[in-house]
Symmetry: C2
Subunit: 115 residues, 2 copies
């Protein structure tokens, strides 16, 4: 599989980013990634099928919210926090604060160890 | 037509609000309403059919972003800015700033006079 294409910061579309964040599973993924660490897809614990998680991760990536990196057969994902903060100042911060306050996305977590 | 139901601030769902804002027409409506004034639906100039505008206004209302008031045969709409700011601090402000910077929603405007 070739490396997936990611929008440059200047190519990011506000409504794509906002729409990508309008889903509790995707908000949960963003919350898990908010510590800045790259995570293997297998580390993410979500109450959905792998194909559904893959869809959510693609929506986040296509909008520019996350960066996906492939290494061999494994995929890794990071939050593009600096890019988002420079393009849409305050948006991610407000979203994360509201999500934490409202317990949105708390069904997403990390596995005890990477798989 | 009876008055439409609006969620109380405590009933607002973050992802519903965010999803409602993930559309350029709806962002444009929010931008037009951001001056705090109530507007008749007929005052809104949008490049979509009336039925489509009606749909967008319902999505905004159901999420709690706007308040719709009916008077006789006319409908009026306002932005629920205080409710949004108290429930999700900084979210609307960041969204509006990004929308203005990126010219998102600028296809929505006001008619010269109310119809």
């Amino acid at each position: 599989m070739r490396q997936a294409r990611h929008p440059e910061p200047g190519e990011m579309v506000l409504t794509d980013v906002v729409a990508a964040l309008g889903d509790p599973i995707r908000v949960g993924v963003v919350r898990v990634l908010a510590d800045g660490r790259e995570r293997g897809w297998g580390e993410l614990r979500v109450p959905v099928a792998k194909s559904t998680l893959s869809h959510h991760l693609r929506v986040l990536r296509d909008a520019g919210v996350t960066r996906t990196r492939q290494e061999g057969t494994r995929c890794y994902v990071t939050l593009r926090r600096e890019d988002l903060d420079s393009r849409f100042p305050g948006l991610l911060q407000a979203l994360l604060a509201a999500a934490i306050a409202d317990d949105v996305g708390n069904q997403v977590g990390l596995a005890d160890r990477a798989t």
